[in-house]
């Protein structure tokens, strides 16, 4: 019996060896991993679900929606990856996964969870904002982006007052 187990171990080890070929992982080199940078969404006030809920369950939400979309052709905006990208694309890289601090990548590399989405999906919104036909809407967001820093300061001030 022991010998059979040993054989099993051999078979598994050799299989593992073949698989183990250095998959290019970009593990952080430093001893302590830096905390993820969570940038506030550029567009919109509130996510389609509570932030806490999304942090834990976004993968299930996306999974469910992707099957509805691909197989049934239901392309509702809520829970669609495209809309996530539209809101969360970084202002500097224009993407959710290009730079190391971009919305998706930042947390995923901290948690060391591989994202498979962007093997196929674009990481950027459909078109650049300036070219967007809904220029009224995008102008609104541009305005919001400009005033965001002020909002943040005042919110912190208020928190200070409350304390």
């Amino acid at each position: 019996m022991k010998r059979l187990l040993a054989l099993g171990a051999v078979v598994l080890t050799t299989a593992a060896l073949a698989w183990a070929g250095a998959e290019s992982t970009s593990a952080p080199k430093t001893g302590v991993a830096a905390k993820p940078v969570i940038t506030k969404a550029v567009k919109g006030e509130q996510c389609v679900e509570d932030t806490e809920y999304m942090r834990r369950n976004h993968m299930d939400v996306l999974d469910h929606h992707r099957d509805k979309t691909v197989i049934e052709g239901v392309r509702t905006k809520k829970h669609s990856l495209k809309e996530c990208i539209n809101c969360h694309a970084s202002e500097t890289t224009g993407s959710v996964a290009k730079g190391k601090d971009d919305f998706c990548v930042s947390c995923h590399s901290y948690a060391a969870v591989k994202i498979d989405c962007f093997e196929c999906h674009s990481t950027k919104p459909q078109a650049s904002m300036a070219m967007h036909p809904m220029n009224a809407e995008s102008a609104h967001y541009a305005h919001k982006m400009a005033t965001q820093t002020n909002d943040k300061v005042s919110a912190e001030d208020m928190a200070g007052i409350a304390q």
Partner: protein, 257 residues
């Protein structure tokens, strides 16, 4: 004169339609989330699944297809974001969702040409052979690859009698269109511009381009609706299915071959 006419006949430019579509959805959304007040022409409500009451199909009139004209191929490449084969570094490995086929009868010297792409079989061999079920037929007759479950085994490419499928051989480096996910290691083919159909455009990029070029060799529509333009034309014109001997019940029908 004819040029003017063809421009007028073009349903409307893609940009304009996209603007109208977005404006409509924006209006609907801003009035009351979840309730659409305006519906885009031909489209089903966005929360409604594709239905088997519809069968999307295409009629190719090879007698009208322009020799040397490649507009349908370019339009497909632009809409779906695949690199045109002429610009590709690796021509044999470059994906081609649609291609122009030149045919010649060696005996009579008769020449014809036509676009060849996924024929959207009702009994698709690629769907039968796919080990994971990634290759599937949507309720409205469109044969698609679910890239979430495609493992790149290429068995569907072995099975397809039309050589309609391509494997993405190299990294795409985030050049994909937001509406058309594509990725290295997965198999892909013509989707009948499913993103446009779901948007309610009621046509495909190749058909738009063919109409715009003035050839009018392509017609797209619902083959299940007896009143649709395509159904009417299919009733009048003698058409053939490519490799009809395989009895696959194709969604693309050819006239003049």
């Amino acid at each position: 004169m004819s040029e003017d006419k063809s421009i007028e006949n073009t349903p409307s430019s893609p940009e304009r339609r996209r603007f109208v579509g977005l404006a409509a959805s924006a209006a609907g959304l801003s009035l009351a989330p979840g309730i659409m007040l305006m519906e885009v022409a031909h489209g089903r409500p966005e929360e409604q699944a594709a239905s088997s009451a519809v069968r999307w199909g295409m009629l190719v009139d090879a007698t009208k297809c322009g020799t040397g004209c490649n507009d349908c191929v370019s339009a497909c490449s632009t809409e779906n974001g695949w690199t045109p084969v002429a610009e590709s570094q690796h021509k044999n490995q470059a994906p081609q969702w649609i291609r122009k086929l030149e045919l010649q009868d060696p005996l009579t010297q008769f020449e014809t040409n036509l676009p060849m792409m996924c024929q959207h079989c009702a009994d698709a061999p690629c769907v039968d052979v796919c080990p994971t079920g990634a290759s599937f037929k949507r309720a409205d007759g469109i044969v698609l690859v679910n890239r979430h479950t495609c493992i790149g085994c290429r068995y569907c490419m072995m099975a397809c009698p039309y050589k309609a499928r391509s494997l993405v051989h190299e990294p795409l480096n985030d050049t994909q269109k937001a509406d058309v996910p594509r990725g290295m290691g997965c198999v892909e083919s013509c989707t009948l511009c499913v993103q446009k159909i779901d948007r309610g455009d009621g046509t495909t990029a190749c058909v738009e381009a063919c109409t715009a070029s003035g050839h009018n060799a392509l017609l797209f529509g619902d083959m299940n609706d007896p009143e649709s333009e395509i159904s009417k034309r299919l009733r009048e014109l003698p058409t053939k299915q490519v490799r009809a001997d395989l009895n696959l019940n194709l969604g693309v029908r050819y006239h003049g071959i």
